[in-house]
Amino acid sequence: MLDKYLRKLNDYVDSLAIFGLNIVKSQDILRLDELIDEGNKIGLENLVKELKKLKEILSKKIHSTEDVREELYDQFVLVCSYLYIEMSMV
């Protein structure tokens, strides 16, 4: 189950990065919501905490401002790092 969840999350971050963090659609946020719920059920506390922060930044409507973009980039790198660590330990 954990393995399946991590793969799903990996696909999600892949799609965000391939199509660009600048263009985030409402569906992306909905998908993230689902991932947060699922992560909660599995008990991935740290990862979920970072995903929530990511959702918070993605929901901001001022993506064009430099500081939000920087915040988003840093948070994305952090989420990916957590994800890759979890994946490598499965």
Binding site: D14, A17, G20, N22, E70, Y73, V77, Y84
Partner: protein, 576 residues
């Protein structure tokens, strides 16, 4: 030489120091030869002692040398710049005078008192470590730290006049007791305070118990971390901006000019000495090129992982407090080899390989059974200058460490290596100083093979999980090398869809580990050979291989098979 009214102790100390080697070191061979010729011709000079620390040698009206206790203070009035023939001649003449004086004193029955300096007041003892360490560049500091941490055997010799330190590659630093730091001589004839002299001074400070070795190491680490050249903010900020841009825009919308931007950062990283970032960015260019050329081997996940790793390494260089993390993030361009004590090693196998960067070679593996340590030796050649069968030729012809046996034999023998040199990854060098002696044949069945041999595959997987955790640390190439004892092999099966050969192997507890070989132009022969060997009587009871992770499972790629009669077969070379 009339010196009755003056004490010339310091000048005598200098003259005692001035043997031919020392003179060649601060002048050169040619000048020494010319000076000796002058003396043989019977050059006439007038020697005048001007004071306790000054002797004037008058050659003629225009040419006078003033000899002082410190070598760098000796001057001449002739037109030549730096050390001239007259300075060397003066030293030789005074040296002869001094020896005559000693002989006369001996004849008169007087006891010759050597000029023994009070070693408690040596200038070396007053050297401020922070000041000398400031002269070192980050790379020098890394090298010195490596040698200090490896307990390299520095040859330190001391007499009444000088201390000599042999650092590495036979570089000798001479520190006369008289004078100061400027009087030190480096056998490479470096001007000023070179990094060799600093290293020798640090060794002296440790040897004389003026500083604790750990204090010296701490000072070097502190200096390394605070060096302004280590963290070039602008370059790191720009690389970070570049990765951010790529993630923000998304690969699908990135213009091809992004390749030029990455290339520019590659050059900057080369110039600023960030080898790891340089390599990672180059690899990113290859990946993006695959994307643009619609190459099937391109994977989204791999591309994003590369970007994230670049972002993390950039941050690590910028923020790392730990020396190991910082140096690992920076990486090394040229590996440093240090001399270590003699080794007794067992050759356990060899791997033939061809890289994507146009190199091919053989990695030989050696094992120290007493200390449970693995070592490797690499023989590499560019593919452009070699023929297809060059791996076998290298294997059959290459000889190292003054041994007459080719590597083909060496990789299955027990050998003693005198004066070996290794780098941080336990890779042995082919240094000319190193001497090897073949002792016996490697008898695998008699070796303990601690930390290397696994009879239980589940234990192996459990152990390997730690090695394959996502980390920005660069993996040690020997970390994934293991020997597994196989109870039974399944028949090799070629997966046509994924183009890979799979051989399931079982341990005594029926746990399975799969040998996996991905098909490509370089492994074509190996796949056929493994299938053939299986049919002709089976694969070895033990296998040396590299464990790797593929789609969340662990696999092993073969290097060497071991058979019951202590025979071994290096499959990537001998089955070619």
């Amino acid at each position: 030489m009339d010196c009755k009214d003056y004490k010339l102790d310091d000048i005598k100390s200098l003259l005692n120091l001035c043997n031919d080697d020392f003179i060649i070191n601060f002048a050169n061979k040619g000048l020494l030869k010319r000076a000796n010729k002058e003396i043989d011709k019977g050059v006439e000079v007038k020697i005048e002692v001007l004071g306790d620390e000054e002797i004037e040698i008058v050659f003629d009206e225009d040419t006078k040398c003033l000899v002082k206790p410190q070598i760098n203070d000796i001057g001449c009035t002739c037109k030549a710049k730096g050390v001239c023939k007259h300075i060397v001649t003066s030293i030789l003449i005074l040296r002869d005078e001094l020896s005559k004086e000693v002989v006369n004193q001996d004849r008169e029955g007087s006891i010759q008192e050597d000029v023994i300096h009070n070693t408690e007041n040596l200038w070396i003892k007053n050297v401020k470590i922070d000041e000398i360490v400031d002269k070192l560049k980050p790379n020098n500091i890394r090298d010195i730290l490596f040698r200090l941490n490896y307990n390299m055997d520095y040859g330190v010799e001391k007499n009444n006049y000088k201390v000599q330190v042999r650092i590495y590659d036979n570089i000798i630093i001479t520190a006369p007791f008289i004078g100061d730091i400027d009087n030190m001589l480096c056998s490479l004839r470096c001007d000023g305070l070179c990094h060799h002299k600093v290293e020798a001074l640090l060794i002296c400070l440790i040897n004389e118990n003026i500083y604790d070795k750990q204090d010296v190491i701490n000072t070097l680490v502190r200096k390394f971390k605070n060096d302004k050249h280590i963290r070039d903010d602008k370059c790191l900020v720009d690389v970070n901006k570049l990765t951010r841009k790529m993630l923000e825009v998304g690969l699908a919308r990135l213009p091809k000019t992004i390749l030029n931007e990455i290339e520019y950062e590659v050059h900057r990283c080369t110039r600023l000495n960030y080898p790891r970032l340089e390599k990672m960015l180059k690899s990113l260019i290859t990946t993006i090129n695959r994307y643009y050329s619609k190459d099937a081997s391109f994977s989204n996940s791999n591309y994003i992982r590369q970007l994230i790793k670049i972002a993390l390494v950039t941050k690590a260089i910028d923020n790392a407090v730990d020396y190991k993390v910082l140096t690992d993030a920076i990486g090394v361009k040229k590996t440093t080899y240090v001399p270590i004590s003699d080794l007794c090693l067992f050759g356990i196998g060899a791997l033939g390989w061809t890289s994507n960067s146009n190199y091919q070679g053989i990695t030989y593996y050696f094992y120290d059974d007493d200390n449970a340590s693995l070592y490797s030796y690499n023989d590499v050649m560019p593919t452009e200058t070699t023929k297809s069968n060059s791996i076998k030729r290298m294997y059959n012809k290459t000889q190292i460490w003054s041994l007459e046996a080719p590597m083909k034999d060496l990789c299955r023998k027990k050998i003693k290596i005198k004066k070996p040199r290794i780098n941080e990854q336990n890779r042995l060098s082919s240094s000319n100083d190193t001497e090897g002696f073949i002792l016996d044949k490697t008898e695998m069945s008699k070796l303990k093979l601690e930390k290397l041999l696994y009879r239980d595959f589940s234990q192996l997987i459990e152990h390997m999980k730690d090695s394959f955790t996502f980390t920005i640390r660069k993996k040690d190439e020997l970390e994934s090398l293991v020997i597994v004892e196989v109870d039974k092999y399944d028949e090799p099966h070629f997966d046509e869809i994924n183009q890979q050969l799979r051989v399931d192997m079982y341990d005594e507890n029926k746990e399975v580990l799969t040998m996996l070989i991905q098909y490509n132009e370089h492994t074509d022969y190996l796949i056929k050979a493994i299938e053939r060997t299986y049919k002709n009587g089976g694969l070895g009871y033990r296998l040396l291989g590299k464990v790797f992770k593929y789609e969340d499972s662990y696999y092993i790629s073969p290097i060497t098979f071991y058979y019951e009669n202590d025979q071994m077969e290096n499959v990537t070379i001998e089955l070619r």
